[in-house]
């Protein structure tokens, strides 16, 4: 039940620029007390920039932020927090080395009459707080020793316990089990009753429809729609997010993927066998066939990226093996994987992808350099040939191959990364979140490229948190949960409801402890 009274937190006509990109243009957003307001948009639409404005990480270049009716200017996150705006992020932004209790009360530890921290009271109150939310952990344990889901629940408990008037949740369920999601929603219900305003950012439409009252849609840095969620058709919501016609979305699906591809042959080109690593992967096995797109599905933290890394030898395993074209790889290392014809496009291109100060050319040839050199000296001519070819094929927009790669847009950077792996002529291409954080146009191009590569006979493994992308792009989906394979969807079973069921089913069976 929302009261359309005076908003507790409001953004009026805000704009924010970064070098080379306009992240937000004239955005207005209003959150009422006791309301749960959904904030949706594609990657790169401006959601996280808007959140950072609301939480004091950034200041708007123009426009105004109003809190409880008064214009405010937060110089840093501390100010926003002190004012009563609390935030839960997608990554757990707590201190792993410190205990759960210390994390919960950091900055506001209970003190005794001497002014010293009262640990006994802190542990007691921490235990009580977590009990209220049904979170069963040892408050003295280091936060980092807990599962991601449990860590996220601790972050939730902290955010909610600071007597906030506004709580902002950025993709809060990406690492939660269904049971924990229920707890989260119960908490949100309580917040609503207390008159706290909640801003909920997520791309999981099911959840939005379950818990949110209103929705604001961002696209390319602007607000394209704001209004109540009830009565807004799902398809219409998605078409607003994508900027495409409803009928077109219904016809073509949500992504640029064409219909499924047929495997070139039934002989797998890559076999992952019994990959196991304590606490991370348990007995993961599956096959990948040329010409087919094999999806890896599961929640955040289910082990998809770890599986991909294990296959290319970037993550050491306790046991298990990888077989490529019938031959077992003796050594699992990135260099060995590359030699065997396996390439991995990592999930975090900033941390594990681009070499920011080097040129586009040098980034593309990074892995192929030994093949393009003579007696240890680099051959510019050979490099230029490859670079030109791939810049054309992938339509990489750059002033020249010598431009610093950090100056390119996210989409073009991702294409540079793809070029790096494709120029090695791989047999198997593993793609971990290939369209994350890039604009809609580049996203479409990448999806089309994946299609083309599969049609040309390449074996592709696709990891994506975007359910539509995964379902439409993959021909088969191997579903992971808690580090193990729980299901494999093929043919007509490859759809969203089956996928969600596959992930939830196992969790349900396990919850009898």
């Amino acid at each position: 039940m929302t009261d359309a009274g005076a908003p507790i937190l409001e953004v009026v006509g805000a704009s924010k620029r970064f070098p080379g990109v306009l992240a937000l243009a004239d955005v207005s957003f209003a959150l009422a007390p006791g309301e749960v307001h959904a904030l949706v948009g594609e990657n790169g639409a401006g959601k996280s920039t808007l959140i950072k404005l609301l939480t004091g990480v950034y200041s708007p270049d123009s426009g105004e932020i109003r809190y409880a009716g008064e214009p405010v200017s937060f110089a840093r996150p501390l100010d926003a927090q002190a004012a009563g705006i609390s935030t839960i992020y997608q990554e757990v932004n707590l201190i792993p080395l410190m205990s759960v209790a210390r994390n919960l009360y950091l900055g506001r530890e209970p003190r005794n009459w001497l002014g010293l921290v009262d640990f006994r009271r802190m542990h007691r109150e921490a235990g009580a707080l977590l009990d209220r939310y049904g979170i069963d952990v040892d408050v003295r344990a280091p936060l980092g020793s807990l599962g991601l889901g449990a860590q996220q629940m601790v972050a939730l408990a902290r955010a909610v316990s600071v007597n906030a008037r506004v709580v902002i949740m950025d993709e809060p369920t990406s690492s939660l089990e269904p049971r924990e999601v229920d707890t989260l929603f119960r908490v949100i219900g309580e917040l609503r009753e207390q008159g706290v305003g909640t801003a909920y950012v997520s791309h999981r439409l099911d959840e939005l429809y379950r818990i949110c009252d209103r929705v604001t849609v961002l696209r390319d840095g602007r607000v394209v729609h704001t209004g109540p969620l009830a009565g807004l058709d799902r398809l219409r919501l998605v078409s607003l997010m994508l900027g495409r016609d409803v009928a077109e979305v219904r016809r073509h699906g949500l992504t640029q993927f064409s219909d499924s591809h047929a495997a070139v042959t039934n002989e797998p080109v890559l076999e992952a066998r019994n990959l196991t690593k304590r606490h991370v992967l348990s007995d993961v096995s599956f096959d990948v066939r040329p010409g087919e797109v094999t999806g890896l599905g599961g929640l955040l933290g289910s082990g998809r990226s770890e599986t991909a890394k294990a296959i290319v030898g970037a993550l050491p395993v306790d046991h298990g093996s990888v077989v490529v074209a019938g031959r077992r790889l003796r050594r699992l290392s990135p260099a060995a994987a590359i030699r065997a014809g396996i390439s991995l496009l990592p999930e975090d291109r900033k941390a594990e992808g681009i070499i920011p100060d080097l040129s586009v050319r040098e980034n593309i040839v990074l892995a192929a350099m030994p093949r393009l050199s003579r007696a240890g000296v680099v051959s510019r001519a050979q490099q230029d040939r490859i670079v030109d070819a791939f810049m054309k094929r992938l339509r990489i927009k750059a002033a020249s191959p010598n431009q610093k790669v950090s100056e390119l847009s996210g989409g073009n950077q991702q294409k540079v990364m793809l070029a790096r792996w494709l120029c090695l002529n791989p047999k198997v291409l593993l793609l971990d979140e290939p369209t994350r954080g890039i604009d809609v146009g580049a996203k479409a191009e990448v999806q089309q490229l994946i299609d083309e590569l599969a049609q040309e006979g390449l074996a592709v493994v696709l990891i994506s948190s975007d359910l539509e992308e995964l379902v439409e792009g993959a021909d088969r989906i191997v579903v992971l949960h808690a580090g193990g394979v729980v299901d494999e969807l093929t043919g007509d079973d490859v759809n969203e409801s089956h996928l969600m069921a596959a992930v939830a089913q196992d969790a349900g069976e396990r919850s009898h402890d």
Binding site: R17, F18, P19, G20, V21, L22, A25, Y58, S59, D220, G221, G243, V312, A314, S333, P334, A335, A337, I338, R339, L344, P346, A351, E352, G353, I354, I355, P356, D357, L358, E362, L366, A367, M369, P370, S373, G376, V377, V378, S409, G411, R420, D439, V440, G441
Partner: protein, 321 residues
């Protein structure tokens, strides 16, 4: 729908800062040269220029090795101690001939480098900690080997290396110049050099791309040790005495200063060889200017401190707000 790109004033500020970082050191060297040419007696005299170049050469040699290490986002605090070690080893084996003695001294430096490299690349210690241990213990080791004594050098070949000219240029200066050219070539044009720079720019990405990260790091630290040992040998030859207690004192500071002032970022990913040479020259000229104008040593140190701070300030990564 394409991205909206907007050119903003902050981009120009970035560009100015970058120019300052890259070219600032050359400008500063030029300014000092001109200042001294005008206001310092006998500055442009050949004998003075010779002295300046001879004095700066060991620093250049060490700084070149340091630049390579810093390019990998590492640091080597042990270079001064390696110089002392080389100075201690050298006279011990002169009896077998100049060449074996020099080779053994270089080997000692490479051994230290190998140890540093193993700790950094295999054990994955932080470079500051790994090289700290050798900084602490290396000079002590050198003193133990030398019996704590200063030894006069009488070997004529070695003295010739230290004092004579080849084609009118002192041997030391020639070695430094040749080394600078070689390192510049390696960094720009060889696979090893480009891989080194990539590893410094983003180690995780380099690892995933199959680069031989451990091997490159190991070789880099070994090279740094070798260069430091070479500098120790040359300095000993010039001083005509092996003095492990004094040689290379504070050399790591001078080398790091030269590298940083010369525009090579501490965060790795770029190696500016010419800038490093210019950085060493700058500090040398600074010192010389202050001395020739009778300014005390204390002033030189404080000025050096300010210069380091300014150079790093200009070079630091900007976070957008």
């Amino acid at each position: 729908m394409t991205e909206l790109t907007v050119s903003t004033p902050s981009v120009d500020r970035h560009r100015i800062a970058r120019y300052l970082q890259v070219y600032g050191v050359y400008a500063a060297v030029a300014v000092l040269l001109i200042f001294n040419a005008l206001f310092t007696d006998n500055f442009l005299a050949v004998s003075n220029l010779r002295t300046q170049l001879v004095q700066v050469s060991p620093v250049v040699i060490v700084a070149l090795g340091m630049a390579l290490v810093i390019g990998t986002e590492g640091i080597d605090l042990s270079v001064g101690s390696v110089m002392a070690l080389a100075a201690a080893v050298l006279p011990m084996y002169l009896g077998y001939g100049v060449v074996p003695a020099i080779l053994l001294a270089l080997l000692a430096g490479m051994a230290v480098g190998a140890l540093n490299g193993t700790l950094v690349a295999v054990v994955r210690l932080q470079p500051i900690v790994a090289t700290l241990a050798l900084f602490v213990g290396g000079r002590g080791l050198a003193l133990v080997l030398a019996g704590g004594q200063l030894k006069q050098i009488h070997n004529s070949t070695l003295l010739a290396i230290g004092g004579d000219d080849v084609l009118g240029v002192p041997v030391i200066v020639l070695v430094a110049a040749l080394l600078a050219i070689a390192v510049g070539f390696v960094v720009q044009r060889t696979t090893f050099g480009r891989q080194l720079v990539a590893i410094g720019g983003n180690r995780a990405a380099s690892q995933l791309a199959g680069l031989p990260v451990r091997r490159v790091l190991l070789v880099t630290y070994i090279a740094c040790g070798a260069f430091a040992a070479l500098a120790g040998v040359l300095a000993t030859a010039r001083l005509t005495a092996s003095d492990p207690s004094a040689i290379g004192n504070l050399m790591e500071l001078s080398a790091i200063t030269a590298v940083v002032v010369g525009g090579t970022p501490l965060s790795g990913g770029r190696v500016r060889v010419l800038g490093t040479v210019a950085g060493a020259l700058l500090m040398q000229l600074l010192r010389a200017t202050l001395i020739k104008h009778d300014l005390p040593d204390s002033m030189a140190q404080m000025v050096q401190a300010v210069i380091i701070l300014v150079a790093v300030y200009v070079a630091r990564e900007r976070r957008s707000r």
